[in-house]
């Protein structure tokens, strides 16, 4: 064995998507991985340490690539890393090219491109057991000879070849030069694509000399599975079933741990209140910080579950089939087939949905999907719809048998989808305009999922959410808490601006306890309460008064907060839920200054329309910021969604009035 290298080695892992790169990376680095973005872009940078037979090396996982031509951002970054031009990344001493033995020719294409960079390359041949099972034979030595490059057959799961790979990588690093043929002098005058042809004819020869196909007629298992899974009819049925399961998981199963987390944080908050002296600090800790942390952590069950499914679907190869089935439909609005699953997931919650858009390679396609995902009616909107329906439309029917509540619910979901379709259509023709990216998508062989890869991906996503989005969410939670908490002075600072304080207590009808009344009073006096007054002229054309304004401001923390804020402001105590009869009657009885009712069925409908379309979710904005690596996109999202929501609510209210509704 050679003496210790003077410097720690840097090794890059390159290869096609689906070649087994992630599995190898996980096997080599173990749990010690770092995931970050390359500065200024959304391309992910995955690094870890590889114990190379006793010597630690830095391992960089390059994005999965079919080519290094630098036509996409991923390719550009990979190129820069290999040439050492990428800031903050050391030029790799060796590139390990992961090559799928069952798909040799196309996988070797990117390897021949690596040769051009004159960097030492070691080929790690994966899936060799599958290849041999199909009665094919491969002569690894011969292939190595033909490529003039070391080739090692590996199996990341069993550990086969890993030691040998480490040896070859160290040897290659010591030699420091590659004997492999370069294609950079191919005659481009013979046509613009001469180099591509030259590479493929070199590959074809190398493959022909080193492999033997004994039974090419044998029908692949994947083809058999695809007879059902991409069948024109059954394929769609199965896709719907798969989506139902995913949907059920994030919509229903996730609520069990979510409720537990909420109760846990509620209990913790109460514990702090009981055991600390009353004062601002106690309130900050219990209502600001603990509630804020709880508001972040509560998303974890949904994120973990969705990424469990997404990792499974990706790893088995089904995701590409789902995109294949849905592409025609999605392309009608200018989106990629792969946008389908993230959008459907957004019906449960836009946060995991937006995180799931990572599977869409093209940036413009991905951003367009992110920008419309929050229009899908998420579970946080349900309490709002439920409250409004309970207060004004409960028990009503059309033609005696169709429930108005059901029709309204359906209408809200449809409205969200319709607006998303229109917005996606417009975005792809304006802000995100570009020549259509190639759809060309590999349908990889079906494979049993690698449990470790699946779990690691799931945990990485959850951790990234906590680290990046969590901090922003916590900061905004505390800000919103402060807006509703300060100023503490209970003597009305500007008595003239809050003339409805007394009448509003009468509105509620019941006899509020002192605590509840105090809480309500405090909210009205707070900055949030004053902001409600400030925005009243703006929301008046929607039929909203300043109290609804306060609730709108508070619901920026999360949409469902509308219910508890209305409860506080109408003196029924913050613990009332969406079906609380006291809250429902308080809403029905609320009066304006001139004695007219604040709420009518039309106001309720307007509020629902507003909630379908408005961007009232700081957590979503924080995730968009993380996923787009810029504040511009979340701000744009907030701006245009609020504008659309306002416009639609305005049309609903004013239109309704013109039609004679109150």
């Amino acid at each position: 064995m050679a003496s210790t290298p003077a410097h720690s080695l840097t090794i890059a892992l390159a290869g096609n998507p689906n070649a087994g790169k992630t599995t190898l990376f996980n096997a080599l680095t173990g749990l010690k991985q770092k995931v970050a973005n390359y500065p200024g872009v959304t391309v992910e940078r995955k690094t870890g340490r590889w114990q190379l037979n006793g010597h630690a090396a830095d391992l960089i996982d390059l994005p999965g690539l079919y080519s290094l031509d630098a036509t996409s951002l991923d390719e550009q970054i990979a190129r820069n890393v290999i040439t050492g031009e990428q800031k903050g990344v050391k030029r790799p001493d060796v590139v390990v090219a992961v090559v799928d033995a069952t798909n040799l020719e196309r996988n070797l294409y990117v390897v021949t491109q690596l040769f051009d960079f004159k960097v030492p390359v070691v080929v790690a041949l994966t899936m060799i057991d599958v290849f041999e099972k199909h009665d094919h034979e491969i002569n690894v030595e011969k292939l190595s000879q033909m490529l003039k490059t070391p080739v090692v057959a590996i199996n990341a799961k069993s550990g086969r070849g890993i030691k040998e790979l480490a040896n070859e990588v160290r040897k290659a690093a010591e030699q420091g030069e590659s004997k492999a043929p370069a294609f950079d002098d191919a005659d481009e005058t013979a046509g613009p694509h001469a180099k591509i042809f030259a590479r493929y004819s070199f590959i074809a020869k190398a493959v022909q000399e080193s492999t033997k196909h004994n039974d090419t007629q044998k029908l692949r298992i994947s083809s058999k599975i695809d007879k059902v899974l991409t069948h024109k009819f059954f394929g769609l049925v199965i896709l719907v079933a798969v989506l139902l399961i995913v949907f059920q998981a994030i919509f229903s199963w996730a609520t069990v741990p979510m409720d537990l987390l909420e109760q846990g944080f509620g209990g913790l908050s109460a514990l702090v209140k009981e055991n600390m002296p009353p004062g601002i600090l106690t309130d900050l800790i219990s209502d600001g910080i603990i509630a804020g942390v709880g508001g972040v952590v509560v998303f974890l069950p949904q994120i973990l579950l969705l990424f469990l499914f997404i990792s499974l679907l990706e790893d088995t190869g089904y995701m590409a089939r789902a995109a294949f089935l849905m592409d025609k439909l999605m392309s009608k609005v200018g989106l990629h087939g792969k946008a389908f699953l993230p959008l459907v997931s957004s019906f449960a919650c836009a946060i995991p949905g937006i995180m799931a858009t990572r599977t869409i390679e093209n940036k413009r396609d991905r951003f367009a999907t992110i920008m419309v995902a929050p229009f899908m009616s998420c579970s946080a909107r349900l309490p709002v719809y439920t409250l409004m329906i309970a207060a004004f439309f409960a028990g009503q029917t059309i033609f005696g048998f169709i429930s108005v509540a059901a029709v309204l619910m359906l209408a809200m979901y449809t409205l969200g989808i319709a607006v998303a379709v229109i917005v996606a259509f417009i975005l792809k023709r304006t802000v995100l305009k570009a020549p259509p990216p190639p759809f060309l998508m590999e349908l990889p062989e079906y494979r049993l999922p690698n449990l470790r890869t699946v779990l690691q991906n799931m945990l990485t996503r959850a951790w990234l959410f906590l680290k990046r989005a969590g901090t922003v969410i916590l900061a905004i939670s505390i800000l919103l808490w402060a807006l509703m908490y300060f100023p503490r002075d209970l003597s009305p600072a500007q008595p003239s601006t809050v003339p409805t304080v007394e009448s509003s207590q009468a509105d509620a009808g019941g006899e509020p306890t002192e605590d509840v009344a105090k809480e309500s009073e405090q909210l009205k006096q707070s900055f949030a309460g004053r902001l409600g007054h400030t925005i009243e002229p703006v929301i008046q054309p929607l039929g909203f008064d300043w109290k609804i304004g306060v609730a709108l401001i508070a619901s920026f923390a999360a949409r469902e907060v509308l219910v508890s804020t209305l409860s506080i402001i109408y003196n029924v105590g913050k613990d009332a839920d969406a079906e609380s009869t006291t809250l429902v009657s308080a809403i029905r009885d609320a009066k304006r200054d001139d004695g007219r009712a604040v709420w009518t069925p039309l106001t309720a409908l307007t509020l629902m329309v507003f909630f379908v379309l408005a961007m009232q979710c700081m957590s979503t904005l924080a995730v968009v910021r993380r996923e787009t690596n810029s504040w511009l996109w979340p701000l744009f999202m907030f701006g245009y969604m609020t504008a659309i929501a306002y416009g639609a609510a305005f049309l609903t209210y004013q239109g309704g009035r013109m039609l004679g509704f109150e």
């Binding site: 798909n103 394929g235 025609k328 439909l329 060309l440 590999e442």
Partner: protein, 77 residues
């Protein structure tokens, strides 16, 4: 050999040899890089439920490609 036609007009299940990949765009280049170059054998395996995209077998792997993109690929049956 019969007259060349484009890949998107191939009947389901039919195979052909690529004669040319037309165009100078990024998409053309990407099609070539994925291994669909003149001389290679391609088979149209099936089309998706709404008749688009199509699944193509080439060099021992499967590729989904939109019909509009496949129109650039000339094949001889």
């Amino acid at each position: 050999m019969t007259e060349p036609k484009t890949l998107n007009h191939l009947p389901i299940g039919a195979s052909g040899r690529v004669v040319a990949v037309n165009g100078e765009s990024r998409i053309t280049r990407r099609i070539l890089e994925m291994g669909i170059i003149p001389g290679v054998l391609v088979q149209l395996v099936k089309s998706a439920p709404f008749n688009d995209p199509i699944e193509v077998s080439v060099r021992g792997y499967r590729l989904a490609i939109r019909r509009s993109e496949a129109a650039a690929i000339e094949v001889a049956i």
